[in-house]
Amino acid sequence: MEEEFRGGRPQLFDFITNGRDWSDKGGYGAAEEKNLELRLGLPGGEDWSAVQEKREHPAESAVSPGHIAKIPKSTNMSASSGAKRGCSDAVDSKPEGTLADKTTFQQQHLQQQQLGFLQLQAKGKESLHRTSGSAGLQSLEGKVCGPHAAHASSTKNTTATHSTSQSRAAAAPVVGWPPIRSFRKNLAGTAKASAESPNRRSEAEKKLENDRKGLFVKINMDGIPIGRKVDLKAYDSYEKLSLAVDELFRGLLMAAQMDLLTATTHSTKETHLISGLLDRSGEYTLVYEDDEGDKMLVGDVPWDMFVSTAKRLRVLKSSDLCASPLSPGEIRRRTNDC
């Protein structure tokens, strides 16, 4: 099993074994490098929060170890496609807001977990106790870095939690074992994150969200691979929503355009990078999908009606919409045609 991972990520492997180097490196530079590494490892926005959740909750999901066995596969085609399916199962089958993180929380912790994650390797015992149980750590390690048995067991030895769980975790990834279907493996993971959450508030949030559609909705932006979630209940007007969207994506947009920005323009750039979302005057326009699957411009219906019918949001490049002012019906037809 070990060979499978060595080839894929030599850089990460180095970081693990040279733990000392990490603690010596300066803050931002290291974080940035870690930034890039982690991003390579994880496919999309939801997985950020997924990793976050897993670290906080003791019982670990099955998604990560599934990745262990399957990610970097040239020689095992069945496994890699199984992983694809497994991954998408995990991502898609999660009900809205299973992970129930507020968006600001996500933003703050995005940075933190990038730093925090690899600190785990360097710090050893303390951080292990602070985060999840040994099984979880192993799964995390495996997810990004590959489960080198020697390394994993050495960290586990320093944090004796449940001995049975350790032996179970040690037995973990054999391809096709235990003989259960992929979708069952993911089932346990997604529900564990919500159901066994010690944080009752997030459980209540999840319930609330299942009550009324449009509470937490996904929002994607053109050109940004990482999607987000917004809580429509947190705003009472379109203006506030628009500001929130700007805040959400500004950072990511800047990161995506990093090459284009010089140091000087960065400081003089206007406060709101993403403006004119609602009146079609800006570079981007906010659209949403309602409960019948139609794509509508945000802003045309009363706010309350919007909240109760919006299923997901999208920030499109205004140039992708027709230049002339369109009625909601026309947008619907046009966007459905695309």
Partner: protein, 575 residues
């Protein structure tokens, strides 16, 4: 019998139902063969590569129902590469041409495409029933064409398929004139569902008896559906978690009491304990309950619901039920015939699970138990011996001890004696899956006693070739043998080659089979396809240069009258 005119013989054959019997009847004489083939209405093809579709249709031109299976069983656990094969299209094409009266198609573990579904939808005017199990390769667009063109469709049953989501509109493609649905199951769909279209469809199908929803169907939608479909016998809920302070919740609580005919319940995708209370009113008449998709329901809540289900015949749960919960099953569900306990959290730390105690309890409390799938962390010989004594009627016994090769924790012995007791006691055992630490001895028992055994699954077991040889020389009804990670080599493979022509298929992966062994097998048995699945790209191009001693990762051997298949991908070599 040769004095009877054909019509009479045909009429007699109407009473000959099972495939096996009809197959036998057709071998008696030419006259019977003719009568049988023209009057046959249902055909089952267990391995799609055992015979070509045209040949089937030519022999049985009058078939109304066709079932075909594709990939080997271990494909369920990602052991078979993605594009290995099992394509449905040739079957649909042949049927469209030769059997236009087809009414029912059941496919399992096959690759079905949207094109195939469209051809299906357009080619059979009387088409009534489509059942796809563990298939892949199609999207909701394909479903839309089925909905559009299959007038009079009665059943659309999608079980555990990988379906690409191209939007929720497919449900809207059922025309307003479609009122014939009896069974609709789309539980495996991952995408959004058009609630309005679904509700309208249910409302206009008065014969609907079985409805299984996907996780995307909201509780609100479910409430509306339940209000219009009070004759349902079989229900799979969609999403099943709402805050108990809402109107939706109260409606849900009041939705179930009026169901007089409801017998099967499943779904419960994200069920919360308080929502589960909604189904208490119907529990006393339930015969089938599947809570195995509801990891949020813990043991105590499971117990609350199970102690009401005294008519239950089939129960699927997660191991969060615990031994305590299984004891409740044992004392309540006296009619229980099938039990499946799935692992909730295979990588978890210290969560509830089940042990041999739970199974012991069920075996002594449920005298009608005959089918078992049980995932646990440990098992003892003593327990298995007792279970065998308590339940001699097992037809399916599948035990999976999650730690491969784990011995009896009490005695540290292999589980040979325990499984031996099972096969000795259960004379009607047709399917067996082994696990835990096992030596060649268990295979000796299986070969000696498991006379009715048809399917055997082995993993991380055995010590030498003898194990496999015992099985091949013994079990005279063996049809499917699947082995992984066992020390069986060429000697075992070649000991009894004639056996493979009496079986449907043999799968071996991560064993000690060499290229030379397979070549020898292929040479001796020309009517077998000996497929080598070689995913190691390095050896691809050097096929000719591979030494006979090269160990093979995966082989799949099956009898066929169709010769080597012509749709094999690069990494599959048929010798």
């Amino acid at each position: 019998m040769t004095y009877f005119p054909e019509e009479v013989v045909e009429h007699i054959f109407d009473f000959v139902g099972s495939h096996r019997d009809r197959n036998t009847v057709s071998t008696v004489c030419k006259a019977w063969y003719q009568v049988e083939r023209l009057s046959r209405r249902t055909v089952f093809v267990g391995n799609c590569y055992a015979i070509g579709p045209e040949r089937v249709m030519a022999r049985f031109p009058g078939i109304k129902s066709l079932s075909v299976k594709g990939k080997p069983h271990f494909a369920d656990f990602n052991l078979v590469p993605y594009d290995w094969g099992g394509f449905a299209l040739p079957w649909i094409v042949a049927a469209a041409r030769l059997c236009p009266g087809l009414e029912e198609l059941r496919l399992k573990r096959m690759v079905v495409t949207d094109d195939g579904l469209e051809l299906l939808a357009r080619s059979f005017p009387n088409f009534k029933s489509l059942v796809l199990i563990s298939c892949e390769g199609f999207s909701t667009d394909g479903l839309a064409t089925i909905a559009t063109y299959c007038r009079g469709l009665r059943e659309l049953d999608l079980q555990e398929n990988e379906v690409e989501d191209h939007g929720c509109q497919w449900l809207s493609f059922f025309p307003d004139s479609c009122t014939s649905l009896v069974s609709l199951n789309f539980g495996c769909l991952k995408g959004e569902v058009n609630g309005g279209a679904l509700e309208r469809l249910v409302a206009r199908c008065p014969n609907l008896r079985s409805l299984k929803l996907s996780p995307a169907v909201s509780v609100e939608s479910l409430n509306k559906i339940l209000a219009r479909a009070s004759h349902l016998v079989d229900l799979g809920t969609g999403s099943f978690a709402v805050d108990h302070r809402t109107d939706v919740y109260h409606m849900l609580m009041n939705s179930f009491p009026k169901f007089k005919s409801l017998r099967n319940l499943s779904g419960f995708w994200d069920a919360s304990p308080c929502c589960l209370r909604a189904v208490y009113p119907v529990c006393t008449s339930l015969t089938v309950l599947n809570l195995s998709y509801a990891p949020a329901i813990q043991g105590d809540d499971l117990i609350k619901i199970i102690c009401l289900c005294f008519k239950l015949q089939k129960l699927w749960v997660l191991d969060s039920i615990g031994d305590k919960g299984l004891a409740v099953v044992a004392s309540t569900c006296k009619e229980l015939q099938e039990l499946r306990v799935f692992p909730c959290d295979i990588y978890g730390a210290g969560t509830t699970s089940v042990t041999e105690e739970g199974l012991l309890a069920v075996s002594s409390g449920c005298p009608k138990l005959n089918s078992l799938l049980y995932f646990c962390y440990q098992m003892t010989n003593a327990a298995l011996i007792t279970i065998a004594k308590n339940c001699p009627h097992f037809t399916r016994f599948r035990l999976c001890i999650l730690d491969p090769g784990k011995p009896d924790p009490v005695t540290d012995q292999p589980l040979d004696e325990g499984f031996g007791a099972i096969v000795r006691s259960c004379k009607n055992l047709r399917r067996l899956s082994l696990s835990g630490r096992l030596t060649d001895q268990v295979f000796l028992y299986i070969g000696m006693y498991a006379e009715r055994l048809e399917m055997l699954s082995i993993a991380f077991a055995g010590d030498s070739d003898k194990g496999m040889i015992y099985v091949l020389n013994g079990c005279k009804n063996l049809r499917k043998l699947e082995i992984r990670d066992c020390p069986f080599g060429d000697i075992a493979l070649l000991k009894n080659v004639a056996k493979y022509e009496t079986m449907r298929s043999l799968w071996m992966s991560s064993c000690d089979i060499t290229l030379g062994g397979c070549k020898a097998l292929a040479a001796k048995m020309p009517r077998l396809n000996v497929e080598i699945i070689n995913e190691n790209e390095e050896t691809y191009e050097f096929e000719e240069n591979l030494s006979d001693l090269h160990k093979l990762e995966k082989i799949y051997v099956y009898r066929t009258v169709a010769g080597p298949r012509n749709d094999a991908p690069d990494f599959v070599w048929t010798l």
